[in-house]
Symmetry: D3
Subunit: 328 residues, 6 copies
Amino acid sequence: MTTRESLDDLYIFSGQSNIPLVQNVVDYLGVPLRPTLYDRFSNDNLWIQLGESVRGKDVYIVQSLTVPVQDHLLQMLMMLDIAKTGDADRVTAVIPYYSYGRSDKKDAPRICITARLVADLITQAGADRIITMGLHSDQVHGFFTTPLDHLTSFPVLSAYFKQKDLSDTILVSPDVGYAKHSSKLARLLDLPLAIGTKFRVADTDVVIDDILGGRYARRAIVIDDEIATGGTMVRVCERLHESYGIEEFILACTHGLFSGNAVERMNNMENLTEVVTTDTVLAPHAYENIKKLHVETIAPVLGEAIRCNHLGQSVGDLFAFWSETAQA
Amino acid sequence: MTTRESLDDLYIFSGQSNIPLVQNVVDYLGVPLRPTLYDRFSNDNLWIQLGESVRGKDVYIVQSLTVPVQDHLLQMLMMLDIAKTGDADRVTAVIPYYSYGRSDKKDAPRICITARLVADLITQAGADRIITMGLHSDQVHGFFTTPLDHLTSFPVLSAYFKQKDLSDTILVSPDVGYAKHSSKLARLLDLPLAIGTKFRVADTDVVIDDILGGRYARRAIVIDDEIATGGTMVRVCERLHESYGIEEFILACTHGLFSGNAVERMNNMENLTEVVTTDTVLAPHAYENIKKLHVETIAPVLGEAIRCNHLGQSVGDLFAFWSETAQA
Amino acid sequence: MTTRESLDDLYIFSGQSNIPLVQNVVDYLGVPLRPTLYDRFSNDNLWIQLGESVRGKDVYIVQSLTVPVQDHLLQMLMMLDIAKTGDADRVTAVIPYYSYGRSDKKDAPRICITARLVADLITQAGADRIITMGLHSDQVHGFFTTPLDHLTSFPVLSAYFKQKDLSDTILVSPDVGYAKHSSKLARLLDLPLAIGTKFRVADTDVVIDDILGGRYARRAIVIDDEIATGGTMVRVCERLHESYGIEEFILACTHGLFSGNAVERMNNMENLTEVVTTDTVLAPHAYENIKKLHVETIAPVLGEAIRCNHLGQSVGDLFAFWSETAQA
Amino acid sequence: MTTRESLDDLYIFSGQSNIPLVQNVVDYLGVPLRPTLYDRFSNDNLWIQLGESVRGKDVYIVQSLTVPVQDHLLQMLMMLDIAKTGDADRVTAVIPYYSYGRSDKKDAPRICITARLVADLITQAGADRIITMGLHSDQVHGFFTTPLDHLTSFPVLSAYFKQKDLSDTILVSPDVGYAKHSSKLARLLDLPLAIGTKFRVADTDVVIDDILGGRYARRAIVIDDEIATGGTMVRVCERLHESYGIEEFILACTHGLFSGNAVERMNNMENLTEVVTTDTVLAPHAYENIKKLHVETIAPVLGEAIRCNHLGQSVGDLFAFWSETAQA
Amino acid sequence: MTTRESLDDLYIFSGQSNIPLVQNVVDYLGVPLRPTLYDRFSNDNLWIQLGESVRGKDVYIVQSLTVPVQDHLLQMLMMLDIAKTGDADRVTAVIPYYSYGRSDKKDAPRICITARLVADLITQAGADRIITMGLHSDQVHGFFTTPLDHLTSFPVLSAYFKQKDLSDTILVSPDVGYAKHSSKLARLLDLPLAIGTKFRVADTDVVIDDILGGRYARRAIVIDDEIATGGTMVRVCERLHESYGIEEFILACTHGLFSGNAVERMNNMENLTEVVTTDTVLAPHAYENIKKLHVETIAPVLGEAIRCNHLGQSVGDLFAFWSETAQA
Amino acid sequence: MTTRESLDDLYIFSGQSNIPLVQNVVDYLGVPLRPTLYDRFSNDNLWIQLGESVRGKDVYIVQSLTVPVQDHLLQMLMMLDIAKTGDADRVTAVIPYYSYGRSDKKDAPRICITARLVADLITQAGADRIITMGLHSDQVHGFFTTPLDHLTSFPVLSAYFKQKDLSDTILVSPDVGYAKHSSKLARLLDLPLAIGTKFRVADTDVVIDDILGGRYARRAIVIDDEIATGGTMVRVCERLHESYGIEEFILACTHGLFSGNAVERMNNMENLTEVVTTDTVLAPHAYENIKKLHVETIAPVLGEAIRCNHLGQSVGDLFAFWSETAQA
């Protein structure tokens, strides 16, 4: 690859996980969404065909690892393989939500560091590079040996929150594991930070032991990388209310899955002011049913990252327009 | 690995696709089925834990790639990774039904030779060796770089058919692609062979052009590697009936999926005497509802292959007891 | 690689197997054949030198795996290595005749799937991509992990046959394994298809059991991927003559080796009208001695494939000019 | 490898970083320390020779990545290479202190995830497996693709502390990044946890913003994975003293480097009761000069891990004797 | 592999290059030569079948790279692949004469370091380890990444020469490149060394500029790693005769190819006392026709190396019996 | 990469080993030296940051493996990794002095062919290509699988010597291992060659047995690839003086390390006229203290090699300007 001067050879294909987001990305860039045909054999084998020749092109395969995760994963692997063996110049996997980033360590014997396994599968299938967002931990970056752009939604989220009244507000990370990331948003918004010392008993059954740095405030923004069933969020808010008398809650996350009975949970929270998320995960059931949901799009972030990659420009420089203090 | 003398270090774990078959295999061998814990996170990520330490063991992970194929595939990849990184002496993937064997060539532009891609994923995840059965084509063997035992159900099927009246019977392959394999069964049963020249218009919409070698006979056994929706089988029988007046049909296959409306189709065929399959695929809906279904187990075949592998003995020699003429 | 706009950086080198064909290819493209020096040490080691610097060039190494196959193979591997370590931008192995494609499965215990082994050697030696023609089976494509263009001679052969009288003619594949390919030519020429159910007893000793779909016709075109000793062809014709009274035979193949006593066999066949082949294999002894031989060149097919590869254009689109119905 | 029954084939070699620890390990196991010859050429190239043939042996190369880190690293890589190419049956790198575990993420642009790079170098050089202790973050485990036993010093440290008066004591993690690990020791010792929200301005210049969960107590144990210059520790204690009036401090860590002016710092702390560390790092200057230093050996932990690995037994089971509640 | 205690699992197969030598090796070891079937298809493709199951065995494939080198090379690669994919426990390539060791550097632009390429091919094909003898330069060892035993014929040759009168004799290396090796034999035999400064103009056309260290002596032993056409040897002797009056010559080498007109050359040399070689290369035409030829067998050296490898014993220790001063 | 037309995308970064040389190279090319930040943590871990984005650039990392060799090596590996994972188009390691080239064979049991190990580490870390100079032996080239330009200082050295009086002068290689290389310089300068048969007893304790080709001359130029402690050089000169009465000595080498007491040794040699070296190694202590030292820069050689690499031009052609007879 040499420095390119136009977007002519930039070919973007989308898996089936989040076509509206990809449409926004290509619209932002002013390039067409290249066609893809999807099918499934009667034995449940997937079949997929890229609708245009990729020979010599700079190909981007966009797929979020959302429900059904395994189908979307294999679909992406097949698309990467097709692009690679179809003689693309370069193949980039764009993964707005890398679900398996959460499986990043052996916290029990004889389990799988699936974040690493899936990283290896993606490389094996043909990805030369990765663009992703909001990884569960920074170390997941190192599970990939290819170049990887680890984007953040924080400039988008902070731009949204800065339009709001943030007086007498604290930022709360529900988990010490996410505390380091949360502290970055705390600095962007100039808010004090509190941290839940959560001990997860089972996947959806959560007990919050304590809130380190907890204090009274009128309002709390509780931020996490993802909201799945929302159980953690609800417990943290209950604890903040009981222990410190906080009355107003905003829930925020990069990846809004809203699985299980999350919709009901959100709608039943009495002190909830707003739920803020991005569109890395396509969740129409939440968009229609969660009353106080606000969705910010990260399509321009993905679009700029793709453009910089294609043109061989520094991602860092271009991201400056998002926030002067948030360059990564 | 050196030649082992007992089955003490032989550890068999099962994915969730076909536990009854694996139970039969371990019963045949007189070894325990090692426990495995399965779970799924609220974001649809799979979680799996091998229930016993595999350090220094000779581990077999058994999984058929049946519906939901992609979940079963990733589950197997995770189990292979756990075994490998858990310091197993050797890890063998036992795949009674390798669904992606059917995607073995580029018969359209920009599609995926998924049989090769998935073979690479399995090796990448940690399989040192493969045991599988009834691959769609013999060349799929070459997609794996590891040692691979390609087992056949034909000794089991032919043993079953030899108990029957096979006078005035022809064996029919519905497809030239499967003709070479069918000819082996024809020789085992000493039956003449006919071959459908099928042109597949779409996955479930099949037109049979012609029956090469078609002739009158009282009875036809139509044999294929798998029965999915059964559409091909029905069309071949109709054609055999119309063109040659054949009145009695037995359908046979290694992999009985019976997906889509296969149950209804089988039950509606007027001249159908029997449907014979093996248990490589777990299909309880078919077992309960297809009236004339007969299922032969291939557990002893898998069991012997595993035993030979573990003890470092030739698979070929031991298979002699299945049929003197069927050594592979 | 980015899309190139001229053939300036396109460097074609030839091994010693088929220099006349390569000369035709470079003439077709209007580029020079880059010089190569060949030598052999007194201990039978090969020595080879590319005659021009390949730094930054798009290099094509053309070699057919013809007699002496092993010398030609190692020569190609050495040329690939020189190009790769000589810092070529990209290295493509162009293999008009991939002899080892025939060794594509384990049809006996403890033999080699040499088609896969040699594919791995070629990749190991430095080939980034492959262009080949008329592989023995489509699955051999999957033995290569690099991009591969699998070209076909059928547009060339069918263009030739369409100039002829094809009335009352059938197309015969001597082998069920080649039946699927033959059916494509049958459709191109709009001819009915018959298939020999050959059982190969030894490499040159063949017994034809039956002709599936055999019928009377005035003329039969017998098509195979290659003609080596021609024994199979002769037996099929004898059988077609004896069983169905066919009197006029045309033999056709992509790869005309004419090894052993093929020349004598061809010349002794009484009802033989013509032998049609291409120049993937250089066989001067056949050109001089087989009376009814007709050779079509596939140089333009290779030339176009190389041009498309070099310019980053779709091979499929350009091939349309060969035949509207034969796009691959 | 099959299950072994004695330690006859267990060969332990030591790099030059921590020979006393390795001597303790071999004494614990009752096996000899195999000889190694070290030299350095006049151009600063390292030279090393394993003093006994390793053909067919189960080899353990023990090296801590301590000052001079880069010499010790290359020395280990050379020893791994010698063992591998010397035809050892299996080669395990035992790395009591993996210094580069700290470089586990890209927290600035265009820097190196050196923890991953060095993991790849170790695998490339020939390590089949890894035994290490007290990695800076759990995710570093996933940077290695080989089997890896991640040991912990907590059973050793907690056994030591349990002999002491722990009334009115809190456990303090100086850093949210280490909070999750610290919480495990807090549970082992049944102590409340506080967490420093440290922002590291430069490598040795630290500012502690706040102590989440800070409270009055008579005594604080401040625990970190390693003590280098000790600057962080001193600041946390000052803050705990100033904000909450805590008067008595115990510093504890797995890896006691005591670099820079750490010795002076420790000796100058007025309220310091004790400094507790293990012998993963050989630090004679600290042993001689830090007045209140107590060193626990982890030789038995390494010894048991090596024994279990060699004999193919579960590490988890054997570790039970350290602490019933600390099985990992 | 663990230390083995018998030769039961030691399986030796031979390629077609030097079956008498391999027969001597198996006789020395008291094990059977396992059968191998060789064939060649009519298109010149090789076919080979190992005659016994290798599952779990410790397999040695013995092949010298002699004329026809390329056929013997591919045959060996196929045998290695069969053993590997046939689930051998371990596969060792035993290459008594590695012809391509001579192509070990780029002494001209755009040529191939074929010694490295072929080493990679051998590893790719499945060799876990290598046993070879008399490599052209010691650095070729480093072209292999697997364990490699580099055996020497010098103990065999020196044992033979020590039975002779070596008074007033000098040892001559015809080439500075081989001088370092020759100096080892000089020390074994306690003879002064002289070195030809040969400049090779072409493969068979040699000019000797000078003899460094040349002096009068009654007798000269001229030693090289191989004798191909013998041209170099003849020129060196002529020069030694002309410049220093030496009258009696013994030619010695490890690999006696005697290609081209070597037989005639040897027989025509007037002052030639003896030609001494080993049986790494099978050269019946020389055995029958060179009058003064003496052949020492290296079968016991290969046999001991194989035995030590199989039993996991140090090769160095066992080689002591060859010569107390020649341990390597 | 396609042929580039300017140096705009050429980015040169320097490790800390020889910044003055790299400054000369970038000045020669007229491009800026891109900034690099170096640091070292208190645990001796290295930290390094490339000061500009390398996305899409053609990156050259220049580092000599000089004291401290291991630090410089790891620093280079980290820089290569940063460039590769920072999405550089292509990464070239430029290694003017590859110290480990000397460890190129196993001349003792159980030692490391470190030249090969380090080559593998460099490739593993991300080098696509290598530029180096004056490798200890030509075969080291083959330890690298990437394209490698093996530059020589001989045109620079011979241009310098040709300005001098070379009458009645011999060229002396102190070692048969370096004799082949020395003979090239002998031809460039048209001088007779003599060769020391050195037996190295230990790293700095050298005994010269003999001078092959020794003769009287007025002056001797003693040439080696490197001068470390200079012990070898001094002994050779003493021997030349004692045996042949040579009175005037010039010492020359590519890599002037002048380690140990080399400065004192050089200054104490009575008959020493001059010491000539290049600047591949930065040795300020020698520049200041060795009285008769002359240093030629190889910056233009490196600069041209980088320019040719970047522009995709043949290195051989451009090197012609150094010397018509010295093209490599």
